[in-house]
Symmetry: C2
Subunit: 331 residues, 2 copies
DNA sequence: CTACTGCAAGACAACGTTGTCTCTCGATTC
DNA sequence: GAATCGAGAGACAACGTTGTCTTGCAGTAG
């Protein structure tokens, strides 16, 4: 004997199947006495409606589930986006299936397919594959996709992006204004869209100031080594811009190691907890992952509700938070 | 016209519905020529099986979905647990529905009910309600629940717990061994099970050493104020044990504010990023959230696979990581 | 040449629910 | 007092799949 069904409840209450359905769905056209009998039977049998079966039959064909694919739900940025999406979904009775991509294009595609099979009502995706063209065949046409953090390639959809380029340019100008002329940029591989935008911002500001650029690609795990190499150059930079969280932390370690943390300025992209408790406190270009998650969820739900305008690009402003490390003057 | 169904594929390939089903499910008893026709039709129509309908009819009645309810998927501990569960599920083709409870018992129950309606195959729960007795009526009997981080009350199930009590006692002994006699404990309200265990560990060690206890309940948001109050007492403690992440950080801020960070020792429960870059580096009792998530997921899958032994309690060892703040000597 | 075997493929019911149609019966209207 | 109406309740089909049973047909043995 599996779990009880509406039929079991109907038999137990001595009414028809359909009457149970009406009571369970709160339709008003049921005699209060019958409704009470039904509710008693529901309680005594421990009946619980089968959402899958109900979905199958209903006209709106909604599973009230969305898929969320982020870089890694355990990193602070993705986790905050994830949480904001959850909060935005809660009020609508929508639940969230999550997946971490770890920069793996195959996983991105596999999980998109898996969520499509589950008939998710929509997808929020921080793309990692070089191209999202596969969505045209693997994702259900007509079911909305909203991109977050990184723009899509080869597929059209709303995108919620931080002001990567202008935010970085602002930070570099901040360094220039304090007299720095040798400002190095440490960033991710240009394969990643956000890395490209931030690099552009750096170049914008350096060109404006008529300064030569100095760019390094720093792998997440090798950021400390890359920074050490940079800082032991003959004409070492007097300021660093680190274009991503893990790189910032690697750079901090390198500066600490060389006891240069009070002599070389540093601004990092993306805020992190305790940045203000370090010595010196770390100046950052803060993103607003909560606003990004919220905006993405809202855009998705608008589409799910039938909005059918041209895809939009929604910018979430970054904010320069001066704390000390970015205000150090050149030696 | 909605998305194509097996029937559409069958018509398009000129075969029966059932043959399509066989091909889609990879059954061997289909003529290769027919199978090829079916596959072509699947591709050309963009057919994607409806997992909900399939679930409904299949004998095993599995949704290949589990529910995960944690304190807050954006806090580093929960996020790491969440990620470990995801990794453990991936290989089994199981997807994860997540929810954040924010210490709200109502939300715990509501989300458990919602996941039950969705026929999740199992639930991993970090309980926040004072009692999980509701599961007996609201959760499907026979569908497994595994508890993580905190033990259940009023319901039996496997539980994966950190060594809260012994880990705390070890840390307090560490302080005692360095000559501290006035050691204060700052912890969460005793409503929370882990807070109680850690408090017990503190009492164990203090009694062992014959020292008087000094305990404060510090709300997450007011940890800094609570610490300030404690440190301005006439006979102020020479060492602090903070029983939780946010409290540790509040205490750090308070110590910094009073410029006591090099004079009052501090050990915190639960590690956090950058603890080693602070001044002084922060000694912690580290939990292993990845091991906890993994153990919980494995236990759940064993139950789903039919294991039916007595519920177990699985301990995940904490580890004292001496970094500096816990090795300061009393003034 | 007939009867039997085996296997591929189709017909049909069923999973648990909701949409639609029909029926009954009491209340309202002229 | 007969015709009309409305509302509550049930019968039945349908959603998209899979389990089971039946059919048809080729191959084999007697």
């Amino acid at each position: 004997m599996g779990r009880p069904t509406m039929n079991d409840v109907a038999r137990s209450a001595g009414v028809s199947l359909k009457t149970v359905s009406r009571v369970v769905n709160g339709e008003a056209t049921v005699d209060p006495a019958l409704a009470a009998r039904v509710r008693a039977a529901v309680a005594s049998l421990g009946y619980r409606p089968n959402l899958g079966a109900s979905m199958l039959r209903r006209n709106d064909r909604r599973t009230r589930t969305i898929g969320v694919l982020l870089e890694d739900v355990s990193n602070p940025f993705s986790a905050a986006v994830n949480r904001a999406i959850e909060d935005e979904s809660r009020g609508r009775g929508v639940h969230v299936l999550t997946g971490s991509l770890d920069e793996d294009p195959v996983r991105e595609r596999d999980l998109a397919v898996a969520f499509a099979r589950r008939h998710a009502d929509g997808l929020i995706l921080a793309p990692t594959a070089p191209d999202q063209g596969y969505l045209a065949t693997d994702w259900q046409p007509g079911t909305p996709v909203v991109f977050v953090d990184r723009p899509p390639t080869g597929y059209r959809g709303d995108a919620v992006l931080a002001t990567n380029r202008s935010g970085t340019a602002e930070a570099v100008r901040h360094l220039v204004a304090r007299g720095h002329r040798r400002i190095a940029f440490l960033g991710d591989a240009p394969r990643i869209a956000t890395a490209r935008s931030r690099r552009q911002g750096y170049r914008d500001a350096m060109r404006e100031a008529g300064l030569p650029t100095c760019e390094t690609v720093a792998p997440d795990c090798g950021a400390e080594a890359a920074t050490l190499a940079l800082l032991t150059l003959p004409a070492r930079p007097t300021a660093l811009f680190t274009a991503q969280n893990l790189i910032t932390i690697g750079a901090l370690r390198a500066l600490r190691r060389l006891a240069l943390q009070h002599r070389v300025a540093l601004i990092g992209f993306d805020d992190f907890p305790l940045a203000d408790l370090l010595d010196p406190p770390v100046t950052v270009v803060a993103q607003d992952p909560v606003a990004m998650g919220r905006a993405a969820a809202r855009a998705l739900f608008e589409r799910i509700d039938g909005h059918t305008e041209e895809p939009r690009e929604i910018s979430i402003r970054t904010m320069l938070i001066p704390r000390g490390s970015g205000e150090l003057l050149p030696a």
